[in-house]
Symmetry: C5
Amino acid sequence: MQICRVKGNVWATRKEETLKGQKFLIVTRIDENQSEIGPPFVAVDNIGAGVGELVIVTAGSSARKASDESLPVDAAVVGIIDSMDVDLSS
Amino acid sequence: MQICRVKGNVWATRKEETLKGQKFLIVTRIDENQSEIGPPFVAVDNIGAGVGELVIVTAGSSARKASDESLPVDAAVVGIIDSMDVDLSS
Amino acid sequence: MQICRVKGNVWATRKEETLKGQKFLIVTRIDENQSEIGPPFVAVDNIGAGVGELVIVTAGSSARKASDESLPVDAAVVGIIDSMDVDLSS
Amino acid sequence: MQICRVKGNVWATRKEETLKGQKFLIVTRIDENQSEIGPPFVAVDNIGAGVGELVIVTAGSSARKASDESLPVDAAVVGIIDSMDVDLSS
Amino acid sequence: MQICRVKGNVWATRKEETLKGQKFLIVTRIDENQSEIGPPFVAVDNIGAGVGELVIVTAGSSARKASDESLPVDAAVVGIIDSMDVDLSS
């Protein structure tokens, strides 16, 4: 799973019927210094993450396990990070 | 899901039988400045996106959830973006 | 789906039993200028693409939908491109 | 599967219900010189890997085969490396 | 599928129970000049590839079709390359 920062929201009135009612967030992956890397992308969110929070994002088919198996989504917020403990010595 | 710009169309007369009647769009991913990044690719479209529009594209097996589970597609337009609200402060 | 050029063929006598009789092509992804990008890779082909042709390649689990669900393949040629119409203004 | 080094832990109180009780590790991929490459990411661990150890990480839908098919995870530690024997001559 | 060179072996005594008895190889992807690109990774091998050989590697969920659907593997050797015929003119 990727470590991402929530950057904002995206709205799409015209969309797949099955996606109606889903909340979409714009997120960007971060590196070990919490610097943003790569372009922003869209993840579905069912746990209430807010802008600025660090989150765990699951990609690919497993994103459907965090929403509904029938949804055409390939990224989902699955956790809001409280803290990280990373060894910088190795 | 990736944020992409619709760039054009592609035609292929000789194709997998199951893909007949499907509409294919050429799209390119964009970054936070809406600059295009990476090479263009092809996504199936069932919601009527037009050239120049910003769209949400689902990749991988989940693209089949936006068309038909039996289709050999790995990217699908699932939403046409009305607006985005991105926090640039963090 | 990726836009690729067919570059050649690859032969493997010793292979997974289920792949016997499958035709493998070497393909390389192209960018908006039709320049090749990235290393060549192997795609299964059931529609008769030839060397030099531009093709649409589906990757991942969806490649099995273009061949047989039980085959260990992760890329398949699903269309031979007749023409592309790309907007360069945006 | 990727060869990674375990870098630390991540905690998320608010998360998908199905992920409760799962152990998450922060890992970073390494190259042939065991230098870390790319940003850290999160993998679920059911075999007890510790910080500093080299591990084999399976990504994508197959990560669910190392935990539970219903979990929204896309990376899992599947082995702790004892030794590697790599030919540097070719 | 990727074209890779077999670089060596990796041993992991502590691993997912279902992976016991599987043979793991370290492989590296090659480009059109057969130069190695990218970091080495691990693929399961059921067809007896040896160090130095060029092989075809299937990634993602399809790798399970070359071993066992229940295994947590995301890369598998599916063919040992006898020869390649690549057009360099285009």
